[in-house]
Amino acid sequence: MSLPKPAMRGLLAKRLRFHLPIAFGLSLIAAAAFKFGVTEPRKKAYADFYKHYDSMKEFSAMKEAGIFESVRPTGK
């Protein structure tokens, strides 16, 4: 039984031709998934928090709690 001649040249090139596009594609998908799964929700959470943030109200609450040194709670 005589073995036929197999392909012996360009084996790495063939493998890369197949796997590199997949590697690039998967990397791009991973980056897109992180952007839309993590960074965009995070940015939205901050934006939503600050959209109706009343800084004076928060400051008064902190002042009454007595955490500041430069301004004491009312009545002290």
Binding site: P4, K5, A13, R17
Partner: protein
Amino acid sequence: MFRAALRLSVSGARSLTRTRPQYTASIAARSYSHGKQETDEEFDARWVTYFNKPDIDAWELRKGMNTLIGYDLVPEPKILEAALRACRRLNDLASAIRILEAVKDKSGPHKEIYPYVLQELQPTLSELGIPTPEELGIDKA
């Protein structure tokens, strides 16, 4: 080998089929766009001539083999035969057996290449009295 990868990613993997027949037998892994591309047959003939030098020395044998192994190909049986005969002239049985191990390693996942090469080299191996790593039991770790 790495130049092959660079060539692919820069030119776009899709264009590879067009240039494939001439590309793969690289001339010393240089990819110029000028000058004639060496054919596979010319490449093989050049290497057979290299190893057929009657007064080849040990350094040239090692250099030749290391360069050859660096290419993206498994050397043709006729190149390997010339290399094995060079080992015989240099009384270097160790390198002869190592060449066989290198062929198996270069094949990577393509398990059909090594048996084919051994089949083609059988007459030369018998003539020169070179045992295969399998016969010596050194193919398993």
